[in-house]
């Protein structure tokens, strides 16, 4: 059994992460789960949420958007639409986005087509804020 996990995070715009890590915690659609070395092969869908990994005793956080993770023989491949590590998140912008999304939500009802879009935007903004705060 390998000691480390080979973590790779890829988005349509390029590879974000490629590191040897000790563990991975990912936001699955059925709840958060952790992956340790020696995990069985798995393919899981991911939700909008906070993704984190432990490297050299330090935990790093990434805000991710829809995607999935493929675990195979200690290789963890994370394919997501967007991934923002804690240090590149613009907290002010995220807060503004949150305010905007909240305002839009107030004007809509659940039947509106835009409701889900605004809801997702709010969710993303919240996650970003969460990630940014944790990194500090």
């Amino acid at each position: 059994m390998a000691e480390k996990l080979k973590l790779e995070m890829v988005t349509p715009y390029g590879t974000v992460l490629s590191e040897e890590v000790d563990d991975v915690v990912a936001p699955g659609v059925m709840g958060e789960f952790g992956i340790l070395p020696g995990h069985r092969a798995m393919l899981a869908l991911l939700d909008i949420g906070v993704f984190s990994y432990l490297k050299n005793g330090k935990r790093s956080y990434v805000a991710i958007n829809w995607g999935y993770v493929d675990v195979n023989q200690d290789r963890v491949t994370v394919m997501v639409e967007t991934a923002e590590p804690e240090d590149i998140i613009d907290l002010e912008r995220a807060k503004r986005a949150m305010g905007r999304a909240q305002k839009t939500l107030e004007t809509l009802t659940e039947d509106d087509k835009e409701y889900k879009v605004a809801e997702a935007a709010l969710h993303r903004a919240l996650i970003r804020i969460q990630v940014a705060n944790r990194g500090r």
Partner: protein, 287 residues
């Protein structure tokens, strides 16, 4: 003999053109670098996705609407071209390939519709008696994933609602700066390269939440990713094609200027000679 003045005029007009082509070459060289990087960045994502899906399809027996094969009667072709010209045969070649496909119709479809991305493809095909159902303009310069996602959803819907039985996509794949490959892929129904990666995966794969859900989402995503990739490849190819064609245009202009200058000098010399002869013979006459 053309007069000196007209030759001079031509030289300066060719010089102007050359300046334009030179500038365009520079611009597309800069754009190319960016577009090329974007293509290289997307490839791992697209390739990994196909690998995962190939793996899944072999393992899980799911009747998914995007996998279901129907009698192939109505086809849709998504043609990816550019919005601007001056890039050699980039737009024309691929439009011609599509036209040829429609004319020969190798699988004897009852109906072939074409959806076009980019103005140039439309300009070529609209006069050629083919069935164009949709034209998307101004997508090619600033490619983003959202656009591709919207297109993908539209196409998936068209397929599941049984408006089309096959959906193809034609685009220029970026091979190198000077070479583009006209590529045809079948977007839907999803086909998988056979025998890829087989047996290497753990038979006890865990799926979360369940295989069917995973496959459904991945298949829908895959269409979007493929379109996204095609858009990027096409953009890089377009810039590459423009760069090479502008480069040769600049070279041609240089040649033309050299030729015209030679002609100009000859004309000038001839004029001087005639003048001299006149003066000398005039002087002779006075003696």
């Amino acid at each position: 003999m053309t007069s000196l003045k007209t030759i001079k005029k031509r030289i300066s007009s060719v010089k102007n053109t050359q300046q334009i082509t030179k500038a365009m070459k520079m611009v597309s060289a800069a754009k190319l670098r960016k577009a090329q990087q974007a293509v290289l960045d997307t490839r791992p994502y697209a390739n990994k996705m196909s690998a995962v899906i190939a793996n899944l399809v072999n393992k899980v027996e799911v009747a998914h609407p995007l996998l279901k094969k129907r009698p192939r009667e109505r086809a849709l072709i998504l043609l990816v071209t550019g919005d601007r010209g001056l890039c050699g045969g980039f737009n024309v070649n691929i439009s011609k390939a599509v036209e040829r496909f429609c004319r020969s119709n190798p699988e004897e479809f009852k109906q072939i519709d074409i959806a076009i991305i980019g103005r140039k493809g439309n300009e070529y095909l609209k006069r050629r008696n083919v069935n164009i159902v949709n034209v998307y303009e101004n997508l090619t310069e600033d490619v983003n994933y959202q656009t591709a996602a919207l297109l993908g959803e539209e196409l998936s819907a068209a397929y599941t609602e049984e408006r089309y039985d096959v959906i193809y996509m034609y685009y220029n794949a970026f091979r190198s700066v000077i070479a583009q490959d006209i590529t045809r892929v079948q977007l839907l129904p999803v086909t998988m390269p056979e025998g890829e990666d087989e047996g290497s995966a753990d038979p006890g794969y865990i799926f979360e939440p369940n295989p069917k859900e995973v496959l459904c989402q991945l298949l829908a995503k895959n269409v979007e990713v493929q379109i996204f990739r095609a858009l990027l490849e096409s953009r890089a190819s377009e810039q590459g094609a423009r760069m090479t064609s502008m480069d040769s245009a600049t070279k041609n202009a240089t040649e033309m200027i050299a030729k015209l200058t030679l002609q100009y000098n000859r004309a000038r010399q001839a004029a001087i000679t005639t003048e001299l002869v006149e003066i000398i013979s005039g002087a002779e006459a006075i003696k």
